[in-house]
């Protein structure tokens, strides 16, 4: 089975491209302290707002800090926020989805109505509110993105659970008198794990985007600590004289989100061909 997946994966150029991008980003983020040419926080006021040059490949910002170093360190922030936020969303979404789908009845009705309500809410408004009213920092940003993005996943998991609930192996597990946690964990979960992996991969892209938007508005990662979003905030202030401050962090976001989306779509084709596009 695994070999089949691997062969399909290697035969899918888009998925492969996504995997390369994502793996490079993870490597970049992990190795950022050694890879960045200078300390991302080190100021050099004499060389402020320098355009890209051999010394500073992406130029310098308003305080003379090396933009390349800040973008590299920003990868760490973005991936950490994206990964943890999605982790929270996956946990919550799976829990709610399995509970609603397996239990059915009023539990299902109540949970799914709650999901409907939350899906109708302009999420970004809720996020802005929570982050602004609590203290804007990286932990709150992670938590709130995770807590506002599990609903789609809950729906997906509920649907899968519903369709599996009456299958013979589930009835057999039930008939054997296994405990509910064991039925759900050992017998149900392995069958719904592929759509969850796909949704989670696609979710990282979304979370990275939300984090950078929040940081851009000054409600996410706080300066001087770099995030792609808050480098862009400075970029906006110096729009007319320093285009490089706006160009590079945005490209980094674009490439990251693109990488995760390609990988997610690719994984979908690999893990579950019947959900594919063609």
């Amino acid at each position: 089975m695994l070999r089949l997946y691997l062969r399909r994966f290697l035969g899918n150029p888009l998925a492969l491209a996504g995997a390369v991008v994502v793996l490079s980003l993870v490597a970049l983020a992990l190795a950022s302290p050694w890879l960045s040419p200078t300390d991302p926080l080190q100021q050099d006021l004499i060389h402020r707002l320098q355009p890209p040059s051999p010394a500073h490949w992406m130029g310098t910002d308003d305080l003379g800090r090396d933009v390349l170093s800040r973008v590299i360190t920003g990868a760490r922030v973005s991936l950490a926020v994206g990964g943890l936020a999605v982790g929270i969303a996956v946990l919550l979404g799976t829990l709610v989805g399995v509970l609603a789908g397996y239990h059915g009845g009023w539990v299902d009705a109540v949970l799914m109505r709650a999901v409907d309500v939350l899906l109708c809410f302009p999420t970004i408004f809720l996020i802005l509110m929570v982050v602004a009213f609590l203290e804007p920092n990286i932990l709150n940003v992670m938590a709130v993105i995770g807590l506002t993005s599990w609903m789609g996943l809950a729906r997906l998991v509920r649907g899968e659970t519903l369709s599996l609930r009456e299958r013979d192996f589930m009835l057999a597990a039930c008939g054997l008198g296994l405990s509910t946690p064991r039925i759900l964990g050992v017998h149900l979960l392995p069958h719904i794990v592929s759509p969850i992996i796909v949704a989670a991969t696609l979710g990282v892209g979304g979370a990275v985007m939300t984090e950078s938007a929040l940081s851009f508005l000054g409600l996410g990662v706080q300066p001087p600590w770099p995030s792609w979003g808050n480098i862009l905030t400075v970029g906006k202030d110096y729009l007319h004289i320093a285009w490089w401050l706006s160009l590079f962090p945005g490209l980094a976001i674009l490439v990251t989100v693109l990488g995760f989306n390609l990988l997610g779509e690719g994984l979908r084709d690999v893990l579950d061909p019947r959900l594919g596009n063609e």
């Binding site: 309500v117 802005l128 862009l232 706006s246 674009l254 390609l262």
Partner: protein, 314 residues
């Protein structure tokens, strides 16, 4: 369904606001050394913040039933009036970008599907992936640099030029169009990608159906087959997606309007959040939820129009 939804949404907003530490009175008194504890207490009482939160929420709901959103903590003007000033700008932005999304996504999706795997289809696919991944606020910055600063064709922010009053009627419309161009384009761009993809998949699915084969078999020209037989059926899922994407579109207003200093409801909400102006935050939140519900209702009605098999109980 609508009423419980509305209550759910406002309750969530309310809880988030009231459970968060700090309050509007802090902002007003922290910087003022002369503000005594007594003055603080009086201010809290004036705003009705001394009561337990379920009571506060009940009172707020009661006033809402009379369409009374309360008064802003900041300038004491009725919230409803503040929203009414800003709503047309936001509606204009969202409706224009919805039209643009729909108007561009349908032909784009149909063309990609009809010429599946052609150069056009591949280019469109790349465009879709990039459109999904591009951060809207970054695209705004780039377009502002290009069209606003380098080329100087379009204004950077706001909705009107400073010398707006000196223009003729036609000049005023042109001025408005110039100010709207960038926000509408950016807002439409990201939504366009997803919708054209759904349209493409919808058409691909439909043109394999028997009734399309029948239409072809009776000798109808291909253009007619696509337009009258395939298109309408392919539109069904698209209408649903369009309805579902409304919260994102309205949510996007909070970001675009802040970037473009656009005088809409999103910016009002953002400013109110920063200033902890509770009544305005609640008002904007409720309004955004209402707009979403209204959008979903429209999508449902459009659904019945596109698909005659769907009939709502009389």
């Amino acid at each position: 369904m609508t009423v419980p939804l509305l209550i759910g949404i406002t309750l969530v907003s309310f809880l988030v606001m009231r459970l968060a530490p700090g309050g509007p009175t802090d902002a007003a008194t922290d910087l003022n050394v002369k503000a005594s504890a007594d003055a603080r207490a009086r201010l809290t009482k004036l705003y009705g913040l001394d009561k337990p939160w379920p009571v506060q929420y009940g009172l707020w709901l009661g006033r809402l039933a009379r369409l009374d959103f309360g008064k802003s903590f900041k300038d004491d003007r009725p919230v409803l009036q503040k929203i009414r000033e800003r709503l047309p700008a936001t509606l204009a932005l969202n409706i224009l970008s919805l039209l643009l999304i729909f108007g561009a996504a349908v032909p784009l999706g149909v063309l990609s599907a009809v010429k599946q795997n052609s150069l056009f289809d591949r280019t469109a696919t790349v465009f879709v992936f990039v459109g999904y991944a591009i951060p809207a606020f970054w695209l705004s910055l780039l377009l502002m640099i290009l069209f606003g600063l380098k080329l100087g064709w379009l204004p950077l922010s706001g909705l009107r030029s400073l010398n707006h009053d000196e223009f003729s009627a036609a000049g005023k419309i042109l001025d408005l169009a110039k100010h709207l161009a960038l926000p509408v384009f950016v807002s439409a761009f990201t939504g366009l990608a997803g919708l054209s993809r759904y349209m493409r998949n919808g058409v691909l699915e439909v043109i394999r159906q028997d009734y399309v084969r029948t239409a072809r078999a009776k000798g109808l020209p291909e253009s007619r087959v696509i337009r009258t037989h395939a298109l309408r059926n392919a539109l069904i899922p698209v209408v649903t997606i369009l309805g579902l994407s409304l919260p994102d579109l309205i949510g996007g207003s909070f970001i675009f309007e802040t970037i473009f200093a656009y005088p809409g409801m999103g910016r009002l909400g953002y400013d109110a959040i920063i200033a902890r102006d509770y009544p305005v935050v609640m008002g904007v939140g409720t309004m955004a939820a209402l707009l979403t519900l209204l959008g979903n209702l429209t999508a449902d009605l459009a659904y019945a129009w596109v698909d005659p098999r769907i009939r709502y109980a009389r």
